[in-house]
Amino acid sequence: MTPNKNNASIIRKDLLFRLYWQLLNDDTANVDRIPLIIKPRGRDPWRCCVYKDRAVLKYKIMSILGYSEANETDELTPLGWYAKHPKGTSSFYLNLIEEACSNCPPPCYVVTNLCRGCEARPCQVNCPKDAIRFQNGQAVINPENCINCGKCMRECPYNAIHFQPRPCEDVCPVDAIYQNSKGYEKIDMEKCILCGRCLQSCPFGAVIPSSDFPLVLEDMKSETPVVAIVAPAVAGQFRTSLEKIYAAIRNIGFDEVYEVAEGAEKTASLESAELLNLKEQNEHPGLMSSCCPAWVNFVKDNKPEWVANVSETPSPMVLTAQSVKEKNPNAKVVFIGPCLAKKEEAHSSSEVDYAITFEELGAVFVAADIEVANQEANSMGEKTPEIGREFSASGGVTHALETVVGQKIDSYIVNGIDKISIRQMAKAVKDKRTDFFEVMCCHEGCLGGSQNLTSANEAKRIIKN
């Protein structure tokens, strides 16, 4: 999902950079000042008052540090204490802050003042449940009868009826988010695939991911070598060369930086071999890609009958980390990428120690005064992993496999998971005429990841230039 430019997303990044700034300066006491700096007295509040805004900002900082306000035992514990004892992603990947949630009303169709109470009344005539009455010359929808079919909205010639969604529930592809009995949204982590769409869509910024960077920073301050492995989508995040981006990452304090594109080439090679083996069978269900962790989560929870069809090849992240650990077994490996689901994949893998996002990376650059465009370009590896770099875009995995096997593959590409795309894919699986299914949870693949700094279109433009 393309990152939205809105105040909630700017505040999230502002909090990240201010927190990291204090951590980089070992000034945890001043973390308590952040809510006051962002929302000083006299500023227009976003909620009822600046004090509520500050309380929510405090809970957002706690969430970034891995503490949920739901488990807060003493409200007087200063943020500085949490900053000194960061938990990273060990307690949760996403936190929905109750205090920030606006208790959005149930999704429903609403008649606006544009209604002219016309003679034709197509809304009323076409309503299959007789849910529309006219009062004081305007249509009124009876919520008891309404089944949210939307026919009235489509029929109204004045566009006077519109649909009011609960934004977070509306975008969730797996119905993992729901309102509890108190009226607050909750995320069912058993169902959640960590696509990050709720985080991008909540107008109150109530969904906040935890960050591993405070823990990475602690390791950087020790003797342990810390190595960054960076997803190919980074090429579209900053308007400068990959060489300068890698130099900037090294300047944060990483001992070494590797391209995950190198692992992606191994993934392409192993997956191609799997595919050629499968094609030897007369009839097969097709091989499904395994590099997108949100997609793999989706299959496990929603389509268990497809689990056997998903490629057994490890993801480019895991293969890159394996090669780093072979060279340097004591190193802490930090994946940097566009995705929340990678945090979970990193957690369950023995090769990757931490995962941070491009959003977190951007905040570190600002906090550490690292100007990416002004870096002296470092030389990259001898071999440019061109095929692996294609993995970041939808269709890139298929193209990489075609390059490896040297022929066109009968493929089916899912560019973004939603109920419709999965239904259509299920038909193709049933037909058994497809050799390879490439599925990316986000529209435009990793270039459209929820934790990117640029939109997918902008990222494509940057890479092209």
């Binding site: 990044k13 502002d14 700096i37 600002v366 005064d369 465009a373 700094l453 939109s455």
Partner: protein, 71 residues
Amino acid sequence: MLGGAELPSLEQHLPDNIKNQVEIKGSPCIYHCKNTDMRPPFVEINGEMIEQASITKILEYLEKLTTNDTK
């Protein structure tokens, strides 16, 4: 990072009447986020700092400046 991603495209949005009067300098960071309680993104025009800058806000400001100049 803090909402200024669209600002590099400012040049394309400048109307013809002020295009020749404006010089745009790229500055990825002007270190303002850390030093004031103003809200990002920032743009500096003739020494004046504009907070929460957007293309529309900048154009409005430039129009005002050029109108004052021609008076």
